[in-house]
């Protein structure tokens, strides 16, 4: 078991480092001079002055050196300073993480419950009208960008029926009910972005598991169909779905950006969009690291859970390369 964990941790770490470096390099490679953008229009913006600013921001070093400096800082927890606000990036990002975590948490919970329910309804009679209907709705879900789902929900619940606010965020410590009320629409939007994948995968998984020999044995023992479902079919179906769930959290992160922006949730997603608009690369880098790390850690955790539920994973060294 320990070897399994170590192996997974090692490969996750490698991907993490690679992604972060890729992000850094891409930012640096791209044209666009943040100093110029920020200060270029001000008076006294002579080339010399601008250059001095660049020097102090460390932008004149060769790229690799910049990378090293930055990585060194990251390891120590210092993500640099925002070009725009001169505040430490770690502070800016740190402030925003709780909101994103809360949102992602709710999205995953709602999506999981919703998906499992819908799949259970759909597979009662595979190929029935209900099943196909759910299939169509899922197809549409696949093809709808997150912000459109947001628009639809906002229209129905905020503008037409006036039961939920269309924007905003209140941290937990200022009132749980308020917080929840404001979370509902963004969380459901995110859940509906993510559910189609879960539904499709889980459904296929269950249908396959249903016809396997051990399910027949379970029935042959005299177990009730619900016992067969919950003790034998679902656990075996969930195992492959768990891996997908891990990836889905990654997708969720991508959608979360837009959802945070739309619903004015002060999380790292909206921070990314804001800093991108302002060309504040320093902050963007910090956000990227956090987001990527989040994704990789989540995938890692799900891998572990998979290994816990399915003992075969721990033993088989199947590398799907």
């Amino acid at each position: 078991m320990r070897n399994f964990i170590l192996r997974r941790a090692a490969s996750s770490a490698i991907v993490l480092v690679l992604s972060v470096v890729t992000v850094f390099l891409s930012i640096r490679i791209l044209p666009g001079d943040p100093v110029l953008l920020k200060y270029g229009a001000q008076t006294g913006a002579t080339p010399a002055a601008l250059d001095a600013l660049r020097e102090s921001a460390g932008l004149n070093h060769p790229m690799l050196v910049q990378l090293m400096i930055w990585l060194g800082g990251v390891v120590r927890g210092d993500f640099g300073t925002s070009f725009i606000s001169q505040l430490p990036v770690s502070e800016l990002v740190g402030q925003r993480i709780p909101a994103t975590l809360e949102l992602t948490f709710f999205i995953v919970i709602i999506a999981s419950i919703l998906s499992v329910l819908l799949v259970l309804i759909a597979i009662r009679k595979p190929g029935s009208a209900t099943d196909r209907f759910i299939g169509y709705v899922t197809s549409i879900g696949f093809s709808t960008p997150s912000f459109i789902i947001g628009i639809i929900l906002v229209y129905i619940f905020a503008l037409r029926w006036h039961i939920l606010p269309s924007q905003g965020f209140k941290p937990m410590d200022l009132g749980v009910v308020q917080n929840m009320k404001l979370m509902i629409l963004p969380a459901f939007t995110g859940a509906m972005v993510v559910s189609p994948y879960l539904i499709k995968y889980l459904r296929t998984s269950i249908l396959e598991t249903r016809v396997s020999s051990y399910v027949r044995t379970a029935k042959g023992k005299g177990l009730s169909s619900s016992a067969v479902l919950f003790r034998h079919i679902l656990p075996n179906s969930i195992v492959p779905t768990l891996t997908m769930l891990g990836m889905i959290v990654g997708f969720a992160l991508g959608g979360v950006f837009v959802i945070e922006y739309m619903f004015a949730v002060p999380g790292i997603g909206s921070l990314a969009i804001e800093s991108a608009s302002a060309r504040d690369y320093s902050v963007l880098q910090g956000v990227s690291v956090v987001v990527i790390a989040f994704f990789i850690i989540t995938t890692f955790v799900f891998d572990l859970v998979c290994g816990f539920v399915d003992p075969r994973q721990r033993v088989l060294q199947v590398k799907s390369r």
Partner: protein, 329 residues
């Protein structure tokens, strides 16, 4: 003492290119108490389907068209599905071909056995665990604690099948149906498992319905044998009778075509000519006729039904002739 199982007019249809056909075609048989019966036949003869139908483990589009089944004195074919569930596993238990795929791969073997125990009797998990260990002991597993905590993939085929047997016996059933239960095992393990089932049958007055395509296994193990061909039982009788004086041409041909130390190898192997029958092409004739070396005209104009000859029955118009012309095997 009544029979443990009585089946009458069981017909089961399956879909095919030409529509629904009867893969099990109006069969009837009984299994006396404390008897081991072998149901032999080639692939597609309908033997496994018979077993699944008795257990009601068939699902759409396979359909049980007709059939009356008695378990002891009780008519079980008219029970609702819910009522039948109390019988399944508890009074009739079934074991299957490949234990590795017929056990839940992500659940420990012990837990699956305990699941069965708790299904049939209201005991605590602790008590169930003790019972499970007893059962594992009974089936000859040397380190029951270890097996209890193992996953299926961690155990060998033989040990797994023993565990499956333990699980099947946890409800003290009256009848054990073994569907090709030893086919996936190597020959030595096969012998041991059969011995085990034999021993358990004697100890617990358990009746066994062994489904197999292996004549040797049937001969070694069973008290009575039923031969199936094209969805019908074409011969049934005591194992001695069947193997020494077969009364149906098919049974005879099967025995003729075996390869063991009694065969004269200077002659070519006597295989059965022709192809296995296609259920859709059934007609009002004997379905073995095209491959039969005793075929006469009337074989092609009507379907023979089982005719009793003392303790044996054979579905052939010309059994007497077969008996008189055959050597004793």
């Amino acid at each position: 003492m009544s029979d443990v199982l009585r089946v009458e007019n069981l017909t089961v249809t399956v879909p095919s290119f030409e529509g629904a056909v009867a893969a099990v075609n109006d069969i009837s048989f009984t299994i006396p108490t404390g008897t081991k019966v072998a149901l032999v036949g080639e692939s597609g003869s309908g033997k496994s389907l018979t077993a699944f139908s008795i257990m009601r483990l068939v699902d759409h589009p396979v359909k049980i068209q007709t059939g009356n089944i008695w378990l002891g004195n009780r008519e079980i074919s008219s029970l609702t599905d819910k009522e039948f569930r109390t019988i399944r596993g508890a009074e009739i238990a079934m074991i299957y071909q490949d234990p590795m795929s017929t056990l839940n791969p992500i659940m420990r073997v012990g837990r699956q056995i305990i699941e069965s125990i708790q299904l049939y009797s209201n005991v605590s998990t602790k008590a169930a665990k003790i019972r499970a260990l007893e059962l594992l002991n009974d089936v000859g597993i040397l380190e029951p604690e270890k097996s209890l905590n193992s996953y299926p993939f961690e155990m060998s085929g033989g040990m797994l099948q023993r565990s499956v047997i333990a699980m099947a016996l946890s409800g003290s059933p009256k009848l054990l149906i073994a569907d090709e239960a030893t086919t996936a095992l190597d020959v030595t393990t096969q012998a041991r498992v059969l011995d085990l089932i034999d021993k358990l049958a004697v100890e617990r007055n358990l009746s066994v319905l062994l489904i197999t395509h292996d004549l040797g296994v049937a001969a070694q193990f069973a008290d009575e044998v039923m031969v199936m061909y094209d969805g019908r039982i074409v011969e049934k009788g005591s194992v001695r009778q069947i193997f020494t004086r077969p009364m149906h041409p098919y049974t005879r041909a099967l025995l003729d075509s075996r390869c063991d130390d009694t065969v004269d190898y200077s002659q070519p192997i006597k295989s059965i000519p022709g192809q296995p029958p296609r259920p859709a092409l059934r007609d009002d004739k004997c379905s073995f006729a095209s491959r039969c070396s005793f075929v006469q005209e009337n074989c092609l104009s009507s379907t023979p039904t089982l005719i009793k000859y003392g303790d044996t029955s054979a579905a052939c118009f010309h059994s007497e002739k077969i008996i008189s012309t055959s050597e004793v095997f």
